[in-house]
Structure formats: C-alpha cells, structure tokens
C-alpha cells in the first residue's frame, strides 16, 4: 500500500496583520507535514515576521510546537516548516510587524 497524502490550503488570499493564525486543521491520521507560506502581496517590512507551528489537544487550546520559520518577505516568496509527530490538530500562527501586512496562501502537505 502506498502512503496516503493530502494537501489542504488552510489560508487562501487572506491578508495577515499583527498576531494571526490559520483555522484549525484536524489531521491525526498524518505522521508528517510540511506547511508552506507563499506571499501573494506584501506591504511594509516583513524581515522580522515569523511563522510558528501550533498544536492542540482539542482544536480549542493551542501551544507552540517549537517549529519556527520566516514569513515570506516579498511578493512571490515561499517559505516552509517541516514537522513530525504533531498529534490531532495543527495550525500555523504568525506575528507580522506593525505597519506591515502580507496576503498569504498557506498550504499544508500531509502524509501518513
């Protein structure tokens, strides 16, 4: 049996400012994930902007998993984080600096 996989866009064409997070994604079946962030548009300085993976026991209460990676700093840039062993619920949180914004496409590539 080949390993099953599924790719879910968890934020599409959303403009992020300040503290922000994707909608929760329930994916207990998956053993590994790569989460990609692509900038569709940017405004202001984004060099300090970071994304971080969060996990949850219930989809309601969230805690940082430890994976942190840069947000894309200019239009067209693509960044990613690679995660294993994340339990049942996954989301990506980010902190965008004041006076900056980024319109994102966040894609979660899951595999058994």
């Amino acid at each position: 049996m080949i390993r099953r996989s599924f790719t879910a866009v968890v934020a599409r064409n959303e403009t992020w400012t300040g503290e922000v997070a994707t909608e929760p994604y329930e994916c207990a079946w998956a053993g590994e994930a790569i989460v990609f962030v692509r900038a569709l548009e940017t405004r202001g300085g984004l060099r300090a902007a970071k994304a971080r993976v969060q996990i949850s026991p219930d989809g309601i209460h969230w805690v940082d998993e430890g994976t942190v990676f840069p947000m894309p700093a200019k239009k067209g840039d693509l960044t990613f984080g690679r995660v294993r062993h994340f339990g049942g619920f996954f989301r990506l949180a980010a902190k965008v600096p004041p006076r900056a914004s980024v319109k994102v496409l966040v894609t979660l590539a899951l595999k058994e």
Binding site: E26, A28, W29, L40
Partner: protein
C-alpha cells in the same frame, strides 16, 4: 430490488445500512481517506480577489476522529474517521465540501449518508442553537443535447438568530450571475446565499442533538432525484419520509463546460460567532441504470 441483490447488500455490513438503487456509483467510507471529497472553491479569473465574497471563506474538509476536549476522540459511525466540514467562528459563516463526477445515464440517483452536526465545544453550555443549518446539494447539468443546469438544494434549518427552527427546507430561488474577470468566459452565482429558502411541506423534525456539545449521534439521510425529469424523488431523515412532489430544484441555463456534471456537496452554516461542524461518516451515491 430483487431478493438476491438485497441479500448480497445485506451481507456486507458497509452496505447493509444503506438502501441503494440498483447500481452503486460510489460508496465512500472516510476511514479509507478523503475519497475525492474536497472543499468548494469559487470561480475566479486573473486573481483570487475576483472570487465572490461568499466563496472566499471556504476551506478544505478534514478527516476527523471527532475529538472533544472533555473526553477525547468520539470516533465515527464505524471505524475511526469521518469527513469534517468546519465553518469559521463568525456568525453566518459557511463551508462546503463536495465530490465531482459525471453521470452516464440520465435516470434516478440517490444520496445516502450518515451525518451529525455540532458547534465547537468552546462553551460549557448546551449550545443547541449555535449551528444554523446543514445541508446537501447536487450540482447537475444535462448531457450536451440538453439545456439545463439544475441544483437541488436541501437543508436542515436548526436555528436562525437564536430561534429554534428544526425543519427541512429546499431552495429553487436563483442568485444573480456576476461576471468574473474580463475574458467573458467566467461567471459565478452565490447559490448558498441565505435568501430564498422554502419549507419542505410538513418538514418539521426534531433530531438527536444530545445533552452536551461533545456528545454526537449519527443520523441517516436519503435524498432521491431523477436526472431525466430533474425532480426530487425522495427525502428521508431517520424515521421520517417527506413529500417531495411539490418541491422544485434551482434551474438555470446550461453552461459551456459542465455537460453530464454530477457534483454532490454538503454544507454547514453557523448561527453564532463560533465554528460549526458537519460530520459525515459515509456516503453512498447510487443510480438506476
């Protein structure tokens, strides 16, 4: 159905809980994966910004063991996973999951499935009026000799602005078409707009919500439709069958690239600033051909 066919269906536990027509088009158990179910996306051209606002909110479904904060995983009707469609935490937010195929015979078809719905259990309250509605729709178009795109919509309206409604509804009212982009090839219409729903005759029904927001009970739903007459043939939920003879689907002119389309979609809408979830354990789509 002849006795031999019935006996074969009854011998298989995965099929014996359904009453399929003579040919199974697909029978999807979400323990085996997504089976081609995915999130609806609106039409766009040139930029995602051109999508109608109602469609921009939709996201992918999930495979869920229905995990709750107070007990853990509830599990599905059988096995571990079901298909979870979730709204955002904003009053009136919707989400839609669907499967796209085409048909080979314009005759009777039938959807059957086991479903339940719940709000996100973020309050220690009953929350039984937090989910506004859940529903099923087909998106159909005649073969190329025909002229109709037909969209039968059925929903269970649970609550509206905090008032219990507890009734089945259908929708034949059309939404206006909007041009998308500049090529002249793309249009879009927001057929799940809140306006235009009508009550199914004698369509009131009380379902099994249970006593806290973390307990779920699976419900059986059947919707029959005839692809030649483009009429409803059945609506049943658990022990109630409803008269569909006076119900009409949404009918619009055929579109350029949708011949023989047979899309099946499920949807959920929240009545409060809290996520609403539609869980679908399994789906059997059958036809007479």
């Amino acid at each position: 159905m002849d006795p031999a066919t019935r006996a074969v269906l009854r011998a298989d536990p995965r099929l014996s809980r359904f009453e399929p027509l003579s040919r199974i088009i697909y029978c999807d158990d979400f323990d085996e994966g997504y089976n081609g179910w995915l999130g609806l996306i609106g039409n766009y051209e040139g930029s995602l910004d051109s999508m109608l606002p109602g469609y921009a909110q939709y996201l992918q479904p999930m495979l869920s063991p229905v995990t709750m904060w107070d007990t853990g995983s509830h599990g599905s009707h059988d096995g571990t996973y079901c298909l979870k469609t979730a709204t955002r935490a904003r009053k009136g937010s919707q989400n839609v999951s669907l499967k796209r195929v085409t048909f080979r015979h314009p005759g009777p078809i039938q959807f059957e499935g086991y479903f339940c719905f719940k709000p996100e259990a973020s309050d220690l309250q009953l929350s039984e009026l937090d989910v506004r509605a859940v529903g099923v729709l087909f998106d159909l178009q005649d073969g190329e000799a025909g002229s109709r795109r037909v969209m039968p919509h059925i929903r269970y309206l649970n609550a509206l602005d905090g008032t219990p409604m507890l009734r089945w509804q259908y929708k034949q009212a059309k939404a206006p078409f909007a041009k998308i982009g500049t090529s002249g090839k793309t249009v879009s219409h927001y057929h799940l707009a809140p306006e235009g729903w009508e009550d199914v005759p004698d369509g009131g029904q009380k379902l099994c919500y249970n006593e806290v927001p973390t307990k779920i009970n699976w419900h059986y739903l059947k919707i029959g439709f005839d692809l030649r007459a483009m009429r409803f043939t059945a609506l049943q939920c658990n022990d109630r069958s409803f008269d569909v003879s006076k119900m009409s689907p949404m009918v619009i002119p055929a579109m350029a690239n949708l011949w023989c389309m047979l899309n099946l979609a499920v949807f959920v809408e929240t009545d409060v600033d809290k996520r609403a979830f539609l869980f679908l354990d399994s789906v059997c789509l059958s036809g007479d051909f």
